[in-house]
């Protein structure tokens, strides 16, 4: 599998250098039910989704990437 993640400091790097941080989700929710859904539910879209990647074997910086989950293409 091939996937290049654009790192803001290092440029395009192979995804194996990164730790996947999951879908981009809000940091908090206004009330208890919304917070429960925020914590436990994922959209899991077939298409472009914003997600977090951590350049663990590189500069150790997080970045938000818009990736098409069906093609692994990353949008600019």
């Amino acid at each position: 599998m091939s996937l290049l993640i654009p790192c803001p400091t290092c440029g395009d790097r192979p995804f194996t250098e990164f730790t996947f941080g999951g879908e981009l989700r809000p940091l908090e929710a206004s009330e208890v039910h919304a917070d429960f859904e925020r914590v436990y539910l994922r959209d899991n879209v077939a298409g472009v989704q914003p997600e977090r990647w951590f350049h663990a074997s590189g500069c150790r910086r997080w970045t938000t990437v818009h990736r098409d989950t069906t093609t692994n293409r990353v949008e600019d």
């Binding site: 429960f36 914590v39 436990y40 951590f54 663990a56 692994n72």
Partner: protein, 856 residues
């Protein structure tokens, strides 16, 4: 003179020899025995496509003799046949063909069920394949190198080299992979000259050429894994040019697998490149444009060549070729010969192209225009190099199947087997493939793929059922060691004091990725040293972080459950890290350094996650924070025991009183000349100072402490002693005493959570959980005998929990432990049974409950 060993026989090596050419020169004709029927198989394609010459080279099974340059003192074994490839008792199976019908595996040994277990062992031993080297050292694992390039070209023939040269002179970074070396298998002549010319141009243009390197597939990206002699290259390319050439058409007729039957380029390579004649009298079947050139190469080498057109009726002979019968335009003729050379047309090696439909992949040369001229090869190469897509040309009609013979020599599948499968109702190429295993052998359909498609088409299968079967990686057989290239790396982290622990006779335990001392030999005295004298422990594995910057406090406050504002400079606090579900993820310590800087520790195994987590939050919250993970650069030694302060005083001029280093708190001090952040904490229940210091100074600090500590009977302690010491204080081990869904209340850690804060990670979840029934909690236990970790805890015979930690403690006055219990009828029981013992719920800490000793 250089020589190699083949089955115990010494064989001389000539310049440029492969294992195949040297062995053939020495008279070897049988290279393998076939998979099922144990028929003799000799050299056939010599282009690395068929499975006829697989041998074991220096212990590595399944090497292609024709693609392996032979080296002095190499050990080569023919790997099939019993007792040997030359004299194979199992050849009797060739006459038992009736007993092994197509779909054999699905038909026999079904009942009784045990029959298959017995038969499988016999069958596995009898199949003609190499043996894995199970004894001896495991084969080395190749490193993986990640390469990014603009263009990767697969194949170093005329088209591939031209494509590479063109792309490189247009400014692209180009990597070219060739299974051998460019031109090595081509006899002298115009093709070889053209390759040399293009090679010169490509090299001058800056193309990087990887020799002995095979592409095994094209994956999305496109990514092309290349298996090289010393490493696995994982190539991310802007685009891929496949110039893998073509394989000659495999002829199917009775006797087509006899040693002495050759594909034309193979025979020409042997004679023209290696100077070894495939035979004395050769019949060349001329059904392609290059047959004339191949015949000329053989004739120039001194072979008595007869060229003829037409269809081969049969190759004659037993065990080796003695003649051939051909339906020529002039009628049926039988020739006496010892070599039958087939030049029946070309089939593109297009598996890579076919598996890369959605990727920027183009072809050049024979792979898209099979049988193209040298000029066309160069032109299509140039076009592909410029990024143009050249439309493929229809290959020549495929030679008709004869009246018998092996369609798939790898798996011993004959025409009769395909017909039997068809008669049983398997009527599409994909299904016939699976039922008969045609195309599923080592050649992966290189010889038989188009025959299979043609067979189903000829039977009138629906068009959708007559296609070539799906091309998938690997197109060349990698070894398992190649597939795990770069993966099998056990990370073992060592502290700066590792050698010191070994010198002291410590038993080292693996703790996550770290190696840590379990004990130095006497656990009981290690514990006594902490309680009564003084002791040291290497705690360099703790995760340590320096957190600074304008928003450092904001980040910590918004993340952790403690009130960071309450921690004054010079003070320290127990730190609980909760996840979004309100569950305990990690724990450690937070020390305020002043100037808005903080020192945070995590558990040894939790440091990577702690760092990623804090960085993520700082980034998402848009905070100005600097975070330095100091785990690798800082060492730490815990000095513990009633004489801990005395020991430090002997090595330091700094004030060590509680005014200078409060409990819990910290101060910067110098010990034996080493600058240390001394943190007063209480994991082991005695007066203790964690000395965090530069890792490069660990050894001198450790040595100084042990040396000065002799006055008080110092003895270092390891994990075994620590397990008892922390249990006496009721401190939990995350992961051992906890479960993934433990919120602070279950663990009795409510005191570490400030619910009055506006927000921290997990707060909404804790509020939600507070309204749920409280079913399970971790409690301290005392036993009336020696308990067992993991043992169930019961009430009236019903299991309500289990022991998670336990020890017999002198200091706590007997057997103690921690364990989970569930409520029974709405109440938590206070007396339980564990095995034959009584377990009584007891308050923690078990030892020095008011913490007088550690505050000393």
């Amino acid at each position: 003179m250089a020589s190699f060993d083949l089955d115990g026989r010494r064989i001389a090596i000539a310049d440029g020899d492969t294992v195949a050419s040297a062995a053939y020169r020495a008279g070897v004709r049988t290279f393998t025995r076939s998979l099922k029927s144990h028929r003799r198989r000799g050299l056939y394609c010599l282009t690395g496509d068929c499975a006829n010459c697989l041998v074991t080279v220096d212990g590595r099974p399944g090497e292609r003799a024709c693609m392996t340059p032979v080296r002095d003192r190499m050990h080569v074994r023919r790997e099939t046949g019993w007792p040997s490839a030359e004299h194979d008792a199992l050849a009797v199976t060739d006459r038992l063909h009736w007993a092994m019908p197509v779909g054999f595996y699905y038909k026999v040994f079904v009942r009784p069920r045990w029959a298959w277990e017995v038969a499988e062992k016999v069958i596995r031993r009898a199949t003609g394949v190499g043996r894995l080297p199970l004894a001896g050292p495991p084969p080395g694992v190749k490193p993986t190198r990640f390469v990014r390039t603009d263009v990767v070209v697969i194949g170093g023939g005329v088209a591939g080299l031209a494509a590479a040269a063109q792309a490189a002179s247009d400014g692209a970074a180009v990597l070219l992979a060739d299974e051998g070396t460019p031109g090595w298998s081509v006899p002298p002549g115009p093709t070889r000259d053209a390759i040399a010319r293009q090679l010169g141009e490509a090299t001058a243009a800056g193309v990087r050429i990887e020799t002995g390197t095979a592409a095994i597939g094209i994956y999305e990206g496109p990514t092309v894994p290349l298996v090289g002699p010393h490493e696995l290259l994982e190539v991310e390319a802007g685009r891929v040019i496949v110039a893998a050439g073509a394989v000659e058409a495999h002829g199917v007729f009775p006797g087509n697998d006899l040693p002495g039957v050759w594909l034309g380029r193979g025979a020409a390579r042997l004679a023209g490149v290696h100077g070894v004649n495939p035979g004395e009298r050769a019949v060349v079947i001329d059904a392609s444009a290059e047959a004339g050139a191949l015949a000329r190469t053989l004739r120039d080498a001194g072979v008595d060549v007869t060229e003829t057109q037409g269809h081969v009726v049969s190759a004659n002979g037993r065990g080796r070729l003695t003649g051939v019968t051909v339906d020529t335009p002039e009628g049926r003729r039988t020739y006496r010969c010892d070599a039958l050379v087939l030049s029946l047309g070309l089939s593109p090696r297009d598996s890579l192209l076919r598996m890369a439909a959605d990727d920027p992949v183009s072809g050049a040369g024979d792979v898209i225009w099979p049988g193209c001229t040298l000029l066309e090869a160069e032109q299509t190469g140039r076009a592909a190099g410029r990024g143009e897509l050249v439309q493929p040309r229809e290959p020549d009609p495929w030679p008709a199947l004869g009246a018998g013979g092996y369609v798939c020599p790898c798996e011993d599948v004959g025409i009769d087997d395909l017909e039997a499968a068809w008669a049983e109702g398997w009527t599409s190429s994909e299904i016939v493939k699976r039922y008969t295993t045609t195309t599923m052998g080592p050649c992966q359909g290189a010889l038989c793929g188009r025959h299979l498609a043609r067979f189903t088409a000829g039977r009138g299968a629906a068009p959708v059922a007559t296609g070539r079967t799906t091309a998938r990686p690997p197109v060349r057989a990698p070894r398992l060691a190649d597939l795990i290239g770069g993966v099998h790396e056990v990370i073992e982290r060592r502290t700066a004091l590792h050698e010191r622990h070994l010198e002291a006779g410590a038993r080292m335990d693996r703790s996550g990725s770290w190696m840590r001392p379990g004990t130095y030999g006497d656990v009981a005295d290690e514990i006594r040293a902490v309680h009564q004298r003084v002791s040291v422990m290497d705690v360099s594995t703790l995760g340590t972080f320096l957190i600074a910057g304008r928003d450092a406090r904001v980040l910590l406050d918004a993340t952790f459950s403690l009130d960071v504002a309450d921690v004054a400079p010079g003070r320290a606090r127990y730190l609980l890290a909760l996840d979004e579900g309100g569950y305990v993820m990690d724990d450690g310590l937070l020390a305020a350094l002043g100037d808005g800087r903080y020192f945070v520790t995590s558990t040894s195994g939790g440091s990577d996650h702690m760092e990623a987590w804090l960085r993520d939050r700082a980034d998402r919250l848009g905070l100005h924070v600097h975070l330095v993970n100091q785990t690798a650069q800082m060492g730490a030694v815990n000095v513990a025991g009633p004489h801990a302060r005395d020991l430090l005083a002997a090595l330091s001029d700094d004030d060590l009183s509680r005014t200078a280093i409060p409990y819990p708190g910290h101060a910067q001090i110098t010990v034996a000349g080493v600058p240390c952040r001394a943190v007063a904490v209480g994991f082991v229940g005695e007066l203790a100072f964690e000395l965090h210091h530069p890792r490069s100074r660990s050894v001198e600090l450790w040595d100084a402490l042990l040396d000065a500590g002799r006055a008080w009977g110092i003895r270092p302690h390891g994990l075994d002693a620590l397990d008892v010491l922390r249990l006496e204080k009721g401190h939990i081990y995350l992961g051992q005493d906890t479960l993934p869904d433990d919120h602070p209340t279950k663990l009795g850690l409510d005191w570490a959570v400030s619910m009055t804060k506006p927000s921290f990670v997990g707060k909404p979840a804790l509020e939600r959980i507070a309204s749920l029934p409280f079913e399970r909690r971790l409690v301290g236990l005392r036993f009336d005998g020696t308990p067992r970790r993991g043992a169930p805890l019961t009430v009236a015979g019903a299991i309500v929990g289990r022991v998670t930690s336990c020890a017999v403690s002198e200091a706590a006055g007997g057997p103690i432990g921690l364990g989970w219990i569930r409520g029974v009828d709405g109440e938590f029981p206070s007396s339980l049974r564990s095995g034959g013992l009584t377990a009584t719920v007891a308050p923690t800490p078990f030892y020095d409950p008011r913490g007088v000793r550690l505050r000393a």
